[in-house]
């Protein structure tokens, strides 16, 4: 049985917190949910995006539809100590996925010090803002990031985490979470790099 933690997630429609589970490790059923439920919706939204934008809707680009979670899990199976992945489920549906890399990344804010690198983080398409489609749950991304911080603390990295943001998520990391910004990274497809320092992580965990 996969280790897990009980959590609470805000259900937008019911306007209340509902019970969910944070599972450590991404299981076959989560990969199936991604392939069979997330992916068709992500691809549909990707097709609709330009039309909606032309109609005046401000929508984020669907940028993670090409992520192959099964492939990502394969590298974790080959070197399980180097990764920490988790899946957030509500009523046995997968609502968020994350894979954190623990072996090879160092902080840019604190040279020489290790950090937990959030390699991939994704929430189900129905939990993202989209015209005419109310979100099912809010706060999934924050719950997953808190887990990344916990992984960092478990490994002695004192809560330091880092990540490269897809263009559509830059505002969230920069303006909402106020992560320390290092700008576009020429060595990583020009994606913007962010970190939570030890102090920022502590504040973020306490904000819950």
């Amino acid at each position: 049985m996969r280790p897990s933690l009980p959590i609470e997630v805000f259900a937008v429609g019911e306007r209340k917190l509902v019970a969910g589970t944070l599972f450590f490790g991404i299981a076959e059923q989560n990969l199936e949910h991604y392939e069979q439920k997330w992916l068709p919706e992500l691809l549909k939204r990707r097709r609709e995006a330009s039309k909606l934008r032309k109609a005046g809707h401000e929508i984020a680009v669907v940028e993670d539809a090409h992520w192959d979670w099964a492939k990502k899990m394969l590298r974790e199976h080959r070197a399980p100590l180097g990764f920490r992945s988790c899946a957030l489920e509500v009523a046995e549906e997968t609502e968020g996925l994350m894979q954190v890399e623990l072996a090879t990344h160092r902080s840019r804010a604190n040279k020489n010090l290790n950090l937990a690198y959030v390699d991939y983080i994704s929430i189900a398409p129905w939990n993202r803002p989209w015209p005419g489609e109310p979100q099912h749950f809010k706060g999934i991304g924050s719950i997953l990031l808190r887990e990344a911080i916990r992984a960092s603390m478990d490994e002695g990295f004192r809560g330091r985490i880092g990540l490269h943001a897809l263009p559509g998520a830059v505002t969230w990391y920069h303006d909402k979470l106020k992560m320390k910004a290092f700008g576009a990274d020429p060595d990583y497809q020009g994606l913007h790099y962010f970190e939570f320092t030890e102090e920022q992580s502590k504040r973020f965990i306490d904000e819950k």
Binding site: R75, A79, A103, T104, N112
Partner: protein
């Protein structure tokens, strides 16, 4: 030669402890790295193990590992 003992616990729910016999030079190296990386001895050795496992897995998958100097010149790391 005096041995230095070091206890390591595994992070998983069921923890196990092992004792390492290290030379003073090896223990000095651990302590130096711990100070530099601000890690406990246990955290440092767990990090070493993680890194070693990731490197082994990537080598086994047919990948190569390179060091790059300041002039962007690359040299392949040969692992024994």
């Amino acid at each position: 030669m005096a041995d230095n003992n070091l206890s390591i616990s595994h992070a998983n729910m069921s923890k196990r402890t092992m004792t390492l016999n290290l030379s003073p030079a090896e223990m000095d190296a651990i302590e130096e790295l711990c100070e530099k990386r601000q890690l406990t001895k246990t955290a440092l050795l767990r990090q070493c193990l993680r890194l070693y496992q990731v490197i082994e897995a990537r080598i086994d998958a047919g990948e190569k590992i390179f060091f790059e100097d300041k002039k962007k010149a690359k040299s392949e790391l040969m692992l024994l």
